[in-house]
Symmetry: C2
Subunit: 419 residues, 2 copies
């Protein structure tokens, strides 16, 4: 008797989370003889709880193929964390009811550490409630903070965006620095770990190459040292190019982004560490500056995705279905690095228990002693992840051909449920 798949996207989306969805659905379609319908939670787990299940069999083959090159979350996502089984008992029970009502044999949850935890708990509670379901976590996060897996699908493309962007903007600044802007500051994501900021460092291959400074969340901001380095870059290379992580803190542990600016009413200004750093440069050194905040652009820039990342994102989706068909549960496909030179990877697996609720921080050995750059070890790790290009097709208007799911919902079978 064929069972159905329930797939859901969770948390912040990435340029390639849909490539994983594509891998899931295409692999399930190939295995039509053993798998029924792939349902997708509308807006993630919230849709699942509300029994809003998108019937992906209503989507065309070419639209599903188009997911591979479409950013955002094709079926919608949400930030909604199920807590312990005791605290969120009502939600877990509802989840199992929904799975039972729609004959789900395989639950594939595509997200970060919290989602791995949820998938793990669903596998446990399903057994207890007499409805065993094969639960597979599928890794995704631009923050690259999942343990066990060598890297996380989503990160490589953001890393490539950041590296390409700081390289390009630095060429711009360099060409006019003798009479104009001398300091350029690019703010990137990474509240807790500096993986994304570190990627900017891949551009600095020779003495004098940008970025001249990286400000990591791992390193408390030391203003005097920072200013000394900025001045050194301007005096020696003509300009200074800076990548700053949104999560940089001062020595008292406060986010720099919160510490600086107030609006006209005296309210703390939310977000934007780049203008805070820029103001420090202006006040203390008087250099002309510019700053950019890439925000969601970095997280959705599928047009400059890393081919390595796209391939891996697809592969973990495919592997998730294969693991489910092998009868596995409580596991997650992971990326294993086989060799660095040449870079080779393969898909492995780990138990969700090893992934849930553990954050992988950037090793201290990846940051140079002065705290402003990346080491050769960091470069060896990061470089392969941004390799290769994988462009979306463009239409005749010069815009990417991104697909939009029809999102036809399966007929509801259960009473309403308040989330």
């Amino acid at each position: 008797m064929k069972k159905n798949i329930l797939y859901a996207q969770s948390g912040g989306v990435t340029p390639v989370i849909n490539a994983t969805a594509c891998g899931v659905i295409e692999t399930a379609r190939i295995n039509r003889d053993r798998i029924g319908t792939v349902y997708a939670g509308k807006d993630g787990i919230i849709g699942v709880l509300q029994e809003e299940l998108i019937d992906t069999s209503k989507e065309t083959k070419s639209d599903i193929a188009g997911l591979r090159h479409t950013p955002g979350g094709g079926f919608g996502s949400c930030r909604y964390k199920l807590r312990s089984i005791e605290e969120s008992k009502r939600e877990y029970q509802r989840l199992i009811e929904v799975l039972r009502a729609h004959d789900i044999g395989y639950f594939l949850y595509n997200g970060g550490g919290d989602s791995a935890d949820t998938a793990y708990k669903v596998s446990q509670i399903g057994k207890k409630m007499g409805f065993p379901v094969n639960c597979i976590g599928v890794p995704k996060t631009i923050d690259n903070d999942l343990p066990v897996t060598d890297n996380c699908p989503g990160f490589g493309s953001v890393a490539k965006y950041v590296a390409v962007s700081i390289m390009e903007a630095s060429l711009d600044v360099e060409s006019m620095a003798s009479s104009s802007t001398k300091v350029f500051i690019l703010e990137v994501m990474g509240r807790h770990a500096g993986w994304i900021a570190a990627a900017g460092g891949l551009v600095a291959r020779e003495e004098g190459d940008p970025p001249h400074l990286i400000l990591f969340p791992e390193v408390p901001f030391k203003q005097r040292e920072f200013l000394r380095k900025v001045r050194h870059a301007v005096e020696n290379y003509g300009y200074c190019s800076v990548v700053v992580s949104e999560g940089v803190r001062n020595s008292r542990g406060q986010f720099l982004a919160d510490a600086g600016t107030r609006d006209a009413f005296g309210h703390a200004q939310l977000g934007g560490v780049a203008p805070v750093v820029a103001n420090i440069v202006r006040e203390k050194l008087g250099y002309k500056y510019h700053w950019a905040v890439s925000d969601y652009l970095q997280r959705s820039a599928r047009h400059v995705a890393s081919k390595t990342d796209v391939d891996q994102a697809y592969a973990v989706g495919k592997a998730a279905v294969e693991l489910a068909l092998q009868g596995k549960s409580g596991v997650m496909p992971i990326i294993k690095r086989v060799s660095n030179n040449p870079y080779r990877w393969k898909i492995g697996e780990t138990s969700l228990g090893r992934v849930a609720n553990r954050e992988k921080m950037m090793p201290k050995s990846y940051i140079t002693d002065d705290g402003f750059g990346i080491t050769p070890a960091a470069r060896r790790y990061l470089a392969p992840l941004i390799r290769g290009e994988d462009y979306p097709p463009y239409d005749r208007d010069g815009l990417p051909k991104y697909v939009r799911m029809k999102k036809v919902l399966a007929r509801k079978k259960l009473p309403e449920f308040d989330v």
Copy 2:
């Protein structure tokens, strides 16, 4: 007797100004029998005045070819405006001395309206001083504000970057809006004219498509209307995506970017209209928001350049050399639109007198009556300019192969000169 070319880049650089340089140098090399050396002013006209002339014959064929896909200003640029002949007499005389000392027969000045004015004056003063030089203006500006020419090289690529970026970020926001960010604001360049912001409107092809609002410098910011539209988008499409031009002003004519925020010391915070608009949304509507400021990224994003733009940038460089060889002076090659459907263009020419010191504003008919969108006329004009992709080559590290000139200077022959 073969004469040399002096080429200089002026003002803010673009993703494709080097494609123009490539067109100039490759065309001159083809015409080796009639043209001597192509010199390039180091950092633009400042380098010319200081007799810092880069000898481009020292650059390899493949590096010159690589200029076609390299952003920034390959020979450096500057913001330095020569004023009237009376006011800047000393500079004009020096310029002619430098041209004479290096046997320059053709002066090609690659910039916007000010540069056209300078090239025009050099052609006049050269004659008066008994050193006639063929002066050609070569159009470049991301602001698209030169008259006579249908559009300006540089604009199309920035337009494409803005359109692709708002399209991608909107897919991201849309997928999570039911439980997270509802309003996304992208700040783009355009201090005086809304051409760049208008390009974002190309993405909105169907009802509900992003961006839902564009804030133009041409339309005074009306807060109540703005908030009404934001709420309408959130209530009807689930989220609201906004493109805001840095040049938006309030009804008293002040830049919105200056009006809002102060730093911890009470100083007006420089730059960043996006956070100001975001704060208005937060205070008045309470929606969760995100904002991005693309700043120099938009102006250097060669990785997502418009092929139309690259081709046109190259073509005006080529045409400039050909006009010079035809003995023309005081002229500028321009882009003429031959037809819209299919889009066809050719190179024409105009006199610099018609271009100098005139700004082309965006026609009123390009902005919808409500002031927040673009009309079909704007779409017909803008759409062809972002068509086609023209990717740079990437190296095996996954980074674009951008070239760097060797910048070997010609031997100086004149006394020093203070700029």
